[in-house]
Point group: C2
């Protein structure tokens, strides 16, 4: 755990947030600035900044998170489709230095992803 | 290989496309409708539509692809950051039914991802 990381503190329960899903690998919470009807964040519990810092073991955990997510999408209101987004660094407008995946849907999204 | 899939046909060499990177797991090509200065597609060689269809073995391969991508980003012009996007279904505006990850960067992207 990184004490300066808001996501680590949410995972640890130090900052309150409604966890829509939680298991040993990850949490899923709502984005506080939603860009669509459904805008969630999948956050692995281990702290690492991005795929550049990600170890091989962490990549396998991330794969497991994506597989689990695939079983949850109907429950999360995403049966008609969704967009997964992960931002890295300045050009990507990464906002928190703890890897996370935006899960966006609940309506037809725009074509533009850039 | 799915003979009706444009990405399978590119992977097989039946449809010409400049492969910026290729290994046993994936290819990286340029998106033909770029939305930013750098807009690439990471395409796993195995044909499956999306994370819902993805097997556990395919998820581990996808993790390996992401790890490899993390070693290539500087070469690909993405040192200042990037955005990874994967669209699923109608609401996500998925265009090809073979899982692929958009790699977008080369300039500061917009805040809106939806």
């Amino acid at each position: 755990m990184n004490n300066n990381c808001i996501f680590c503190r949410i995972i640890a329960g130090e900052i309150p947030a409604a966890k829509l899903y939680e298991d040993e690998d990850m949490i899923i919470i709502r984005d506080i600035n939603p860009m669509a009807k459904v805008h969630l964040l999948l956050i692995p519990k281990e702290h690492y900044a991005d795929i550049i810092e990600m170890t091989e073991a962490q990549s396998v955990t991330l794969a497991r998170c994506l597989k689990k997510l695939s079983t949850l999408t109907d429950t999360l209101g995403l049966a008609e489709g969704f967009r997964l987004v992960s931002n890295k660094g300045q050009n990507g407008r990464q906002s928190v230095g703890h890897l996370h995946i935006h899960i966006i849907g609940g309506e037809k999204l725009s074509e533009n992803m850039a």
